[in-house]
């Protein structure tokens, strides 16, 4: 077993980094005694991945919900979530929505006030997955912790019926015929995301009575590429994020998490502009990619984590890590490249 641990090190130069050695030892130890590991982590999610999270720093067993391994990789727990950060989630040739579910349950567990702009799926979808991860979105919505904007349902309301007051998704009606009227009139505004920004700001503003019921406000957007498909330009979406950053990250010391699809070789210029613009502004980039060699049943993709400091000079190097992952029914297991338990 020792020889196995040292073999990859011999191939490289010098000793393997500490984190790799620790993970290898834990992996080999867990494989040797699966029963003990299962009992120890009984409170966590039922599937025990081979590379179990190493309780090296004396932390307790990870809480149920979210993806505890991802928390370890990102070096955060719900108790000490950072503030004032913009996190960019990006997926290329695969589906990165598991990251959205992770951050949603993470921030709800962290007792933050969350405004979720869900443009791509319905509320019940997130609710059911959230229940698997240990949070109840209906309860959070009822007690006011979660403000949920359901894009699909609201789009039907906005499109077919003229609204009295400005609706966050009003841009769907912009420069289009009013469908229900005989006379063909069209609205003069070019359609921008300002109503959406007002909605977000209204949802996340602190309570009037001055007591901080929740820790910090968080804006979660799933996903921004849909706004491009709905007629907004890349610059309009970048402006929207900029305004939200000013209001949420700087003014209220909150966080923003947004998902953008990377179109890859589809040559979507607007999407590339949006992605590059956001990459330069964000503090943390999580990029889920498909494997270069194609489909694999045991390894679903590769996750690149990049920590950035946008305001610091470039002399400070950005830290980057790459892991491969496999999505299971209620969790995601991460392992170093080539260390999938199916292969070892």
């Amino acid at each position: 077993m020792r020889a196995l641990a040292r073999a990859p090190a011999a191939a490289g130069s010098g000793r393997p980094p500490d984190w790799l050695r620790r993970r290898l030892e834990v992996a080999l130890r867990v494989r040797a005694s699966p029963a003990r590991a299962r009992v120890a982590c009984s409170s966590s999610t039922s599937v025990v991945p081979a590379a179990a999270p190493a309780p090296a720093s004396g932390r307790q067993c990870p809480q149920p919900g979210m993806f505890p391994e991802l928390n370890n990789l990102l070096n955060t727990t719900p108790d000490r979530a950072e503030q004032g950060k913009l996190t960019l989630l990006c997926d290329a040739k695969t589906d990165g929505s598991f990251l959205v579910h992770h951050f949603l349950s993470f921030y709800l567990k962290a007792n933050c006030k969350v405004c979720f702009v869900a443009l791509i799926q319905s509320f019940s979808h997130y609710n059911i997955v959230g229940q698997k991860l240990g949070v109840s979105l209906t309860a959070a919505r009822e007690c006011g912790q979660l403000v949920f904007l359901e894009g699909l349902k609201s789009s039907v309301d906005v499109f077919f019926r003229a609204q009295a007051e400005p609706h966050p998704l009003q841009f769907l009606r912009s420069a289009s015929l009013q469908p229900c009227s005989e006379v063909h009139t069209w609205e003069a505004d070019a359609g921008n995301l300002q109503p959406l920004y007002e909605f977000v700001r209204e949802a996340l503003k602190p309570a009037d009575d001055g007591q901080a019921a929740w820790r910090c406000p968080v804006l979660l957007v799933d996903d921004l590429s849909v706004l491009l498909s709905l007629g907004m330009g890349a610059v309009a979406v970048l402006d929207f994020i900029h305004y939200c950053r000013a209001a949420v990250c700087w003014e209220q010391k909150g966080n923003i998490v947004a998902l953008v699809h990377d179109s890859g070789d589809a040559e979507d210029e607007e999407n590339d502009i949006l992605l590059n613009g956001l990459s330069h502004q964000s503090h943390l980039i999580l990029r889920a990619e498909g494997l270069a060699t194609g489909f694999c049943r045991d390894v679903h993709g590769q996750l690149k984590i990049l920590w950035r400091t946008p305001s610091q000079p470039a002399a400070q190097r950005d830290r980057s890590l790459t892991y491969q992952y496999k999505i299971q029914d209620k969790s995601v297991s991460f392992f170093a490249k080539g260390m999938s338990p199916a292969i070892l």
Partner: protein
């Protein structure tokens, strides 16, 4: 029809208990809910299974599924098409097989008693309904299948493989009907659907040239006129017939099957198939978004065929794929050089499952087989794993060496649904 309903409920109850058993013990709140309309159901709070004819719950997440009319495709999509989602078929070059899939979908709706909504800019919906294939019913289907299956199976079943015995352990794709469930039906393309069945069904037709209003203003809108009319029509039908739960007097719930043919073609007034930089490039994507919003809030399922091979701008295809739930691409060999290629002599085309949605779940059913080919026999549309026949030439000539290389190149990029990689890697 009644037999189908009872069988549907029988299978449904089995699925219900399986899913409920899986859900029990996880949290104190059961995660199994009926997923008909995605939004709040008027009688929300009851997690019982609603037995609608022709539907069954998915064993994985309790999602309500309808059959696409093609049991082989149902298998690949994880049991069927989820109610409330869009199935996008990327048409093959001459629109032969995609119109077949379209007709199978509608025929399945007629058999199960679902309400149909057919929208087309090319053919009158009444004509489309007249051309639906006839279903293969139980009594004569067994007889007909036996002869097909006998021809197919006798060489294999009698002889146990001696040399390549590992291949016997490979799972076979089901070519024939599974007799126990009546969820999917088989259709005979040589016969038409009996007239009385069509007349007994409720259907709404949208023929775009008829709905064009005589006064057509030049409108600087972002949705083309045809799409707006179609959306209004669909919303009207959903509202009037109570598919979104707005009409509480309706006792018997039913599914609305929407079929839209050739969406995006110039006949709808959209020019994304004509030029690369079109004026209203957001028209189609906005339409899809609002359509999906309508579907999610009602008991309906939609099939759309789209000539994506004509769309010049690849970015639009990527956006359309992201906005649809299930995307299946058809590639027929007719007219291409592969028609005469001896490798493909058994098949009529390739079928690519480009996207399967992850609904209410982190994972989804994905088959391991990524290279799928279809062939159309008179009574059967089969989808099989693409097998390259063995190279039996006496001399390994240069020409025969090139053919496998070319075919492996086309198998390479088709990396599948979950994770696509870069194009072709040379080893």
């Amino acid at each position: 029809m009644a037999a189908a309903a009872t069988c549907g409920t029988g299978a449904g109850n089995k699925g219900c208990t399986a899913a409920a058993a899986a859900a029990a013990g996880k949290n104190n709140v059961t995660s199994f809910q009926r997923k008909g309309p995605r939004a709040s159901v008027p009688d929300s709070g009851c997690a019982r299974l609603v037995s609608i004819a022709g539907t069954r719950p998915s064993v994985r997440n309790g999602q309500l599924l309808v059959s696409t009319g093609l049991p082989a495709l149902d298998q690949l999509l994880g049991g069927g098409l989820a109610v409330g989602t869009v199935l996008l078929i990327e048409e093959d070059k001459y629109n032969i097989y995609s119109s077949l899939l379209f007709k199978y979908f509608l025929a399945e709706g007629v058999i199960n008693g679902h309400t149909l909504l057919v929208a087309s800019a090319k053919e009158d919906p009444a004509d489309i309904l007249q051309e639906l294939p006839a279903p293969l019913l139980d009594d004569n289907c067994k007889k007909d299948f036996d002869e097909d299956v006998c021809n197919h199976k006798t060489p294999e079943s009698n002889i146990k493989m001696k040399i390549a015995w590992r291949y016997q352990l490979l799972p076979k794709m089901e070519p024939g009907p599974v007799s126990s469930s009546r969820f999917g039906h088989y259709y005979d393309l040589s016969k038409r659907m009996p007239q009385e069945l069509i007349e007994a069904s409720i259907w709404h037709g949208f023929f775009f040239p008829e709905k064009l209003s005589p006064t057509l203003n030049i409108e600087p809108c972002s949705l083309t006129h045809g799409y707006i009319k179609l959306l209004q029509f669909i919303q009207n039908v959903i509202y009037e017939e109570g598919f979104d739960g707005s009409n509480p007097q309706k006792k018997q719930k039913n599914i609305l099957r929407i079929g839209i043919q050739n969406l995006g073609s110039p006949l709808w007034g959209d020019d994304i198939c004509c030029t690369e930089n079109c004026d209203n490039s957001h028209s189609l994507t906005k339409f899809l978004y609002v359509l999906r919003g309508l579907l999610r809030t009602s008991l309906s399922a939609c099939i759309i065929t789209m000539p994506t091979h004509l769309i010049q701008n690849k970015a639009i295809i990527a956006r359309v794929t992201n906005l649809s739930d299930t995307v299946v691409g058809l590639e027929s060999f007719i007219g291409s050089e592969r028609e005469t290629n001896p490798l493909y002599k058994d098949y009529h085309g390739l079928i690519h499952i480009r996207q399967i949605p992850r609904l209410n779940n982190l994972i989804y059913d994905v088959s391991d087989v990524k290279d799928l080919a279809f062939k159309l026999k008179r009574k059967l549309f089969t989808i099989e794993r693409l097998h390259l026949p063995p190279d039996l030439s006496d001399t390994v000539s240069r020409s025969s060496k090139q053919i496998p290389a070319a075919s492996s190149r086309l198998l390479g990029p088709d990396c599948g649904v979950m994770a696509g990689g870069r194009k072709h890697l040379d080893f």
